[in-house]
């Protein structure tokens, strides 16, 4: 990496990044809080024995959203340089969906 020719500039940059990271970290904590909330909600719905027709779709959606949180925030997929990551994850999800769809609908018994 570059040597210390303009270390002033460097520290400034450092400072800037630090702040940016801190900002990001705040988001992460909020994300986490929401994930916990979603989890509580999902468990709550089931423990309260709300009607299954209602519960099942809801908890599935909650799970889906949680996963997006993980991917986009915790795993930084929202950031620059993740186009291919996203492509492949979504391709994987595509194949995964077909697989699960098939195994839940057209295997009988």
């Amino acid at each position: 990496m570059a040597d210390n020719t303009n270390s002033a500039n460097q520290t400034e940059k450092k400072q800037f990044y630090k702040k940016k990271h801190k900002e990001q970290m705040k988001h992460q904590v909020v994300t986490f809080a929401m994930m916990i909330a979603f989890t509580l909600l999902a468990f709550g719905l089931v423990m309260a024995e709300v009607d299954a027709m209602f519960t099942v779709p809801i908890i599935l959606i909650l799970a889906g959203v949680q996963v997006l949180f993980q991917l986009y925030y915790f795993m930084h997929m929202a950031e620059e340089g993740h186009q291919w990551s996203a492509t492949m994850i979504y391709s994987g999800i595509f194949a995964a969906t077909l697989t699960i769809l098939a195994l839940t609908t057209i295997v009988w018994w």
């Binding site: 994987g92 697989t99 098939a102 195994l103 057209i106 018994w109």
Partner: protein
């Protein structure tokens, strides 16, 4: 680790060199040797099949042995011959085509090879350990649970090991293509072989995990009393069929796409024309891959999935004819107006087009769900897939081997013998498989140890067997050619075919660092562009500098060996568990060794490179 030290070495050090190499070009040679070995093995098994079926009611081999041969023929050909040979071509040329010094993961790449090899050996040890798998390459449950010998265990574990290797190879190529392209090599300038290999790797990435899981379930059921496929315990045998075909159908496109790529290189080269409709070729490739994930149930039309599912999968299946057709016509129109040279690779390509078209058309016929009630599991299917696999993949592989042989070995296979090989193989092929269409329609199911007399099936079976011998003779001619060429060892120039792509801009065979200076790519078919617009030499994109190279490593061999040993422990259990402990110990230890030891490679210094002179003799 000097550059020239390896050259004049004894057998021992050559062996060590190959055992530890991480150079993609050497790995290509390893894949080539391994793949050809298994191709001959699978071919010999095919000959046993055909000899057994030469006359009705034949007792040449026993029913049990027939099933073993049949299973091993399919499994060997698909997993241990076709796949590795494709990987051989990918390793040999893909990095060169995109102007890369190396692949993204040299270590993983070599691990992929050794896993394949040990997996293949593991599978074949079954012959000597009480019988090979005898349930077809599809290993449908519950037959695969009923099978008493350890054959199916060898199948499950052997393919598992080889499958890991394939997955790793796939990821390696994906990242190589994305991250390692030379300056100017944009996606839409990549040669089609690179494109199709890239897309095939995507298919590998998403298809093989389904097989991995399927094999795990099978292993658990057979060895650990699981109940996935045991109806008595609530298991469901259709799960296996789905998982197998969710893998299996994309697998056939993994086999064919790189072959399409090979022909998309050969046809422009020998027509002296750029590929017609390049972007639609790329698009068609992607579309085939995409659709390839939505059609697997066409192998299961008769399972009883119901008319709705059958219809959906039927229509999706037919849809694949469209992008494939785009390719066929693009090839034809590449030749249109060109200046066609009938070199042997081109003759293979010309043999491929009608053959594959027939195979594809019978594929569409199979895709018509109701009609498949008649075709399914008959020789009509056998004919279909040999037309596409042998007429597509195998012709593509051999065309590729012949085409890139000078690049890989610096020598030129004898053209006359190549033509002999082609005609024997090609005519033999059509004799073997054309009449099988009728056998199927005339009521001969596949996987039949014997057919009965007085059922009108005698003549075509006889012709079929005769044809198979033609293919065998053809293959022998090829092997002779290889031996003779390498004994003569006549060197050729960097670009003996007057070709168009980047790999032909560097010496044959290329130096271990591929490109002395990163090439600058100025268009599709970069070498052609330079031939037309420049002095025929690729411009460097950087000044001469140090080249970073990975260290050789013995660890991939050890990791694979560990799994190989552990496989026996898992299978035989009891006192043999100790083998599992040892094996997994070796694997884990090797992995740990790998991750604890820094491996940052080494540098070839500028001065050394200068001494070697101009590497880019275009």
């Amino acid at each position: 680790m000097s550059t020239t030290a390896d050259k004049k070495a004894g057998f021992g050090s050559v062996l060590w060199d190959y055992l530890t190499t991480v150079d993609h070009k050497k790995i290509a040679v390893l894949y080539l040797i391994g793949g050809l070995f298994f191709f001959i093995l699978g071919g010999l098994q095919a000959m046993l099949i055909r000899i057994q079926l030469i006359v009705p009611d034949n007792e040449f081999i026993s029913a049990q042995f027939y099933n073993e041969v049949l299973t091993m023929h399919g499994t060997t050909m698909i997993f241990l011959a076709a796949m590795p040979l494709i990987f051989a071509l990918m390793n040999a040329v893909l990095p060169l085509q995109i102007g890369a010094r190396d692949v993204a993961f040299p270590f993983i790449n070599s691990l992929g090879f050794w896993l394949f090899l040990f997996g293949g050996i593991f599978l074949n040890i079954s012959w000597f350990a009480g019988g090979a798998p005898d349930v077809g390459w599809t290993a449908y449950a519950p037959l695969s649970l009923f099978s008493e010998s350890h054959g199916v265990d060898y199948y499950a574990i052997g393919l598992q090991i080889a499958g890991f290797g394939t997955l790793m190879g796939g990821i390696n190529f994906l990242v190589t293509v994305i991250n390692m392209r030379a300056p100017g090599m944009t996606y839409m300038r990549m040669p089609l072989f690179t494109w199709t290999s890239f897309i095939a790797s995507v298919l590998i990435l998403f298809a093989f995990p389904a097989l991995t899981v399927g094999l795990f379930l099978l292993t658990f059921d057979r060895l650990f009393e699981g109940n996935f496929f045991d109806p008595e315990m609530g298991g469901n045998v259709i799960i296996w069929e789905h998982l197998f075909w969710i893998f299996g159908h994309p697998e056939v496109y993994i086999l064919i796409l790189p072959a399409f790529g090979v022909f998309s290189e050969i046809i422009p080269t020998f027509s002296k024309k750029r590929l017609f409709g390049y972007s639609s070729m790329v698009f068609a490739t992607i579309l085939i891959a995409f659709l390839g994930f939505m059609v697997w149930a066409h192998h299961m039309f008769t399972v009883g999935l119901g008319p709705i599912a059958n219809s959906i999968f039927s229509v999706a299946t037919m849809a694949i004819a469209v992008p494939t057709g785009i390719k066929i016509f693009n090839w034809l129109f590449t030749m249109w107006g060109g200046s066609i040279r009938l070199t042997s690779p081109m003759v293979f390509a010309l043999g491929f087009i009608p053959t594959f078209t027939i195979g594809g058309m019978t594929g569409v016929m199979l895709g018509a769900a109701a009609a498949d009630f008649q075709y399914h599991d008959t020789y009509f299917v056998v004919a279909h897939f040999h037309y596409v696999i042998v007429g597509g993949t195998i012709l593509g592989i051999f065309a590729g081997i012949i085409y890139w042989w000078p690049k890989m070995f610096g020598t030129m296979l004898n053209e006359k013998l190549n033509h002999w090989f082609f005609w024997l193989f090609f005519i033999g092929f059509h004799l073997t498989f054309f009449f099988q269409h009728f056998l199927g329609l005339m009521g001969m199911p596949r996987r039949y140890w014997k057919f009965l007399s007085d059922q009108g099936l005698d003549l075509f079976n006889l012709i079929s067997t005769i044809g198979a011998f033609g293919m065998a003779f053809g293959t022998i001619v090829f092997l002779i050619n290889v031996v003779m060429t390498q004994m003569k060892g006549e060197k050729v120039s960097a670009d003996p075919w007057d070709a168009r792509t980047l790999e032909w801009a560097i010496p044959s065979p290329p130096p271990f660092y591929n490109f002395k200076q990163e090439p600058l790519v100025r268009g599709l078919d970069p070498l052609w562009v330079e031939k037309m617009q420049g002095d025929g030499k690729i411009k460097p994109a950087e000044p001469l500098g140090d080249i970073h190279m990975p260290n050789r490593s013995f660890v991939p061999f050890m990791i694979s060996l560990g799994l190989f040993i552990a496989g026996f422990g898992v299978m035989y259990q009891g006192a043999m568990w100790v083998l599992a402990v040892i094996g997994f110990g070796i694997t884990a230890g090797s992995m740990l060794h790998r991750s604890l030891k820094d491996d940052i490679g080494y540098h070839v210094h500028k001065e050394e490179l200068e001494e070697e002179g101009d590497g880019s003799n275009g």
